[in-house]
Symmetry: C2
Subunit: 325 residues, 2 copies
């Protein structure tokens, strides 16, 4: 039921993911059964696929207060789905619904991994060479230095398991490269990270290092991570406008102009969240992934495949084996 | 003497600025006289232009510690130039040298405007429609809410005087639009900004609003402003690489590919600091502008013209008339 285009986009995404993966994938669609079945019936091919429906009578909307909804709507698709995951009936849970409610319900139903102070949602940046995991992306503000250290550890595990970086490098987002730079938070975090076993601390990195993939994991306070993520989104949409403005002032041929906008469209798509589908909720005792509210079928496909990877690699268990040792 | 390409780029930039402006502009080049004269002698046309040379025996390098250099090298071009400005012999001072030393010397020689807690360097973002002034861009970290309010007031004056926005709108950089969002710093700043007379407070803005010019002035802590600025720089250089990577996978003709990279080059140039030359040091008792260390002749031209605007509009005096009232 989650996201602007549900349930149609969820159904299409599930069908695409099943076609796409080489693994044995079964998808359980959780929601108001009649509504979900209607969406499934729109695709005759869906009947032959391993797609199941689990009824959840209530719906948490984007307007609902997360904490209130988590208490009041115990039959929502978020509750029913997370409960199924907790029981081991499904290997991972995804939703493009109310992010706050997903987080609150995950904490309520699954709980934190022992030893994790604050679960964290990273952002995955598509760089000039592979993915850069930056966390926190907005769920944690006013972080203490030790929170940043935990982000470094969780981000390293995620980068290793999902992006196959055997020894992911970790950079501390700062305003200069030299040790001693920055605000009180990162100065203290720098020293802690230097002494943290099990991670590969590169040192300070700057904003420009993110898209150039200087390191595999970038650690920052969620306030900064969120500003950077949204600044990037704004840049991705502003750039094509600037290209159009430039083309309008040049007397390029219609062919060049058309070819140009086609290339920009491809680059924009590469930079778009759709390609990554969503982000994991690191540090809860389960494999939970959160999608963008405006997720398309393509985005749901990628989100489900990311969930398959998280379940196959047993992400939550890997984090627990490091933190709860 | 400041910047990687000095003094040649400074001389060329001065010549270009004098040609470009419709105002009566005289440029005083401050530095080791023999070195500067050599650079001038390389241009026969320079002899007929209103360019003067003022000797400064010492040079502050990029490696010098700002506070130490300001005390030890009293005959540096930064000292001599700022002293000339203090005496009213020149209407503004520019340098592409050691930023920390320029700031320290400005505070030492010119002092702060009465009432200004912390002088601030903004960054000027070239958006899809005109310039957005974002401050602080990195000189002030661990800001208090009242510092952000002063940035809002100084940024508004700068936007009005230099970019002709009669009533510049001010946004508080945050991780959500709703009041009550954010960390402790911005929550407190939101309330203060709501009650600040003389500015046009729009409310919270997000990272994506910067390049889309939702507001004329964006206010933030210098740590965030610096990360965002450098993330943008990284994006500007990463984007053409992604376009090239995309083109390599397509079978467009070499002519079309070349035409496309030309368009990208134009957009990159528009997004480049060169077009803005540098940024003012707001809140010191003088018109001081700081250029990028790798400034080209074009960047020096723009920097000098920005200084002409600051002197013509009497930027420092305008800030003093608001703060020292």
């Amino acid at each position: 039921m989650g996201g602007d285009n549900a349930p149609a986009a969820v159904v299409e995404g599930a069908m695409r993911a099943i076609h796409e993966t080489s693994q044995e994938l079964e998808v359980v669609l959780v929601g108001q059964e009649a509504v979900v079945r209607d969406a499934l019936d729109a695709h005759s091919a869906a009947a032959d696929l391993p797609i199941h429906v689990q009824d959840a009578a209530e719906v948490i909307t984007m307007a609902d207060s997360p904490t209130a909804a988590v208490k009041a709507k115990r039959n929502s698709s978020i509750h029913v789905g997370l409960t199924a995951h907790k029981r081991g009936e499904v290997g991972a849970f995804i939703s493009a619904g109310n992010t706050g409610a997903i987080m609150a319900a995950s904490l309520f139903l699954l709980g934190r991994v022992n030893g994790v102070l604050r679960p964290s949602v990273p952002n995955i940046y598509p760089t000039i060479k592979g993915e850069c995991v930056a966390l926190d992306a907005g769920t944690n503000v006013d972080c203490k230095p030790e929170h940043l250290v935990q982000f470094a550890r969780m981000g390293s595990i995620y980068s290793r398991l999902i992006f196959n970086n055997e020894t992911p490098s970790v950079g501390l987002l700062n305003i200069g490269e030299e040790p001693g730079k920055g605000n009180e938070q990162v100065k203290a975090a720098f020293h802690l990270l230097t002494d943290t076993p099990g991670i590969h601390f590169y040192g300070n990195v700057e904003g420009r290092d993110v898209m150039h993939h200087t390191v595999d994991v970038v650690v920052c306070d969620g306030f900064i991570g969120n500003v950077m993520l949204k600044f990037g989104e704004g840049f991705v949409t502003a750039y094509p406008i600037m290209v159009k403005q430039t083309l309008a002032r040049q007397d390029a041929s219609p062919e060049v102009k058309q070819a140009m906008m086609q290339v920009i469209k491809t680059v924009t798509k590469r930079l778009h969240y759709e390609e990554y589908g969503g982000t994991p909720l690191l540090g809860v005792a389960g494999n939970v992934l959160i999608g963008h509210g405006s997720s398309s079928p393509r985005a749901f496909e990628r989100l489900i495949l990311a969930a398959v990877a998280a379940a196959t690699q047993n992400l939550a268990h890997s984090i627990a084996s490091v933190f709860d040792a």
